[in-house]
Symmetry: C2
Subunit: 315 residues, 2 copies
């Protein structure tokens, strides 16, 4: 597979993950439609296995391996939803997942990864330490690295969301999804435009981690942004292949402040009755912030996850 | 119509409300199944119009009226989900809803009722004052009283949940729903047993408002219970016709403490990712409390509503 997946790869991913993943429902709210002045269709990945869309990419990666590769397991360095998703995906194939966890990671998330059956490897909380530990695990075990977003198998898995959503809502005119590392947005852009080149594509990005917006504006990958946002799922810098896909598909970015994301999160909880992460709420925040782009249109919003600490709500 | 609806009334209600009500989805959770040792199917009425099942009964009542009756509007005394549901239902027919609101009612709920277009009538916070004000509004306007639960049209509307749920999950063996006034449980019992007399029926009731359990045990309606529970939607005493239906259909009751309901609410939020009221969580609390009754079975749990004050969570 190339650096970027194509529609055939995304279709193959859909078939590969079908026995394991949830076809998540699309929910609507008359109150939110009225507020936005548009027809909003919320694709509910908080109802995906593991509580986040990440299971799709991880599952496609795990089931893309040959039997010999699979026998050595998989490894990643993510203490968040991707680590958990990879642990769950590995379990569906009965293979070992190694997850490198930096000191100081959220205990509840680490516990969930352990419960899912992964082997944890502790390291210092720096990017260098994480990569070194990952390399050490690979060297020791022969496990395949499954990067959270700069991986064509992962992008293809995330792109299956667009296939499902366009089947569920064929009249869709725009899709809005959050962008962090860009695995989700790139997969969706490739799948959606292959099916309908006229579809509008909007990425919601926290203002405090707006490297994708800066990178598109500068026409080169900007790596100087130091993320400072409550949206913990969107702090990663956009990946190189992911950025290329965003550029190729003319994804436009709406940046939202933390306050806007938190207000939108509260709206999703109160009106849609869904427990969603603040990172997920950036999509509604973007629609409410740039109403001119969405007025009267059929808009798909990808709600990415619902793994929230119920004892530490941001309002 | 008699004091209790029959299957034909419930089928007619389903047709009557179909243009206005949501066919709510059924959600599942592998983690909750494992915890319960049973196959749990959550019927999501928090996704109903107005955020609660109450819209079904109110809508059926509103659309059961003749044009001449409808022209005079409808009235009720409920500052909770039923008042809001009646306001929304009246709006679907373009008629007036009068809602009697006792002083001290939760402001957010009263505001929602006003936003839905109802005319509010304030009164002192006693049962006598509420009934007197209701009677006064009826005398002035000729509006039809729509009681929250002791009303066959309302019971028939709530019973449509069972028709839907058994269509969505034909293999169901038991249905669990909360009991307060009993409008929901009686409608469900009548509909469910008409379709499948073998279905088990379980009502979840707060220990601090266990008048239905006491009434069934004593074989007479016990009205001496002074409700003391965090489950604000289940404080009403069971109605006379509702109790008769519970008895006729051999509904068994599992009482749960407030702590058990709150713990179950938290589980529904974290595992099912649904914002539900504590009253709604009594059904899961009941299943977890009496595992022997449900082990290995296909269990339908009616989640009644999701209108929660996000600034005052009970944990």
């Amino acid at each position: 597979m190339n650096a970027l997946p194509e529609l055939t790869d995304i279709r193959a991913a859909a078939a590969r993950i079908a026995p394991h993943a949830v076809v998540t429902p699309v929910l609507r709210s008359a109150a939110l439609d009225a507020l936005a002045g548009a027809h909003l269709h919320f694709k509910c990945e908080q109802l995906q296995r593991g509580g986040a869309f990440k299971f799709r990419g991880a599952c496609n990666a795990v089931w893309s391996l040959s039997d010999e590769e699979a026998a050595h397991g998989v490894v990643t360095h993510s203490s968040g939803n991707h680590g958990n998703a990879l642990a769950l995906a590995a379990a569906t194939r009965g293979i070992q997942a190694h997850v490198v966890v930096p000191e100081g990671a959220v205990k509840a998330k680490v516990d969930a990864i352990a419960r899912a059956g992964a082997t944890l490897h502790r390291c210092a909380p720096t990017q260098a330490a994480r990569e070194a530990m990952c390399a050490a695990v690979q060297a020791q075990t022969g496990a395949t690295l499954v990067h959270p977003y700069a991986d064509a198998r992962v992008m293809a898995g995330q792109g299956t969301i667009a296939l499902e959503l366009l089947r569920q809502v064929p009249s869709l005119e725009v899709i809005v999804a959050p962008v962090g590392g860009g695995g989700l947005m790139s997969g969706i852009a490739i799948a959606a435009h292959a099916l309908n080149p006229e579809l509008g594509l909007v990425a919601a990005e926290p203002a405090g981690a707006d490297d994708a917006a800066r990178s598109l504006a500068a026409n080169t990958r900007v790596t100087s942004v130091v993320p400072d946002t409550v949206c913990d799922g969107l702090r990663a810098l956009v990946g190189e292949p992911n950025l290329a896909a965003l550029r190729a598909h003319q994804v436009s970015i709406v940046t939202v402040t933390d306050a806007e994301a938190v207000a939108a999160m509260r709206l999703v909880w109160s009106e849609l009755k869904q427990v969603v992460e603040v990172s997920s709420a950036t999509v509604l925040a973007a629609v409410l912030k740039a109403p001119g782009r969405f007025a009267g249109r059929e808009v798909g919003l990808v709600v990415t996850g619902g793994n929230v600490d119920l004892d530490a709500l941001p309002w």
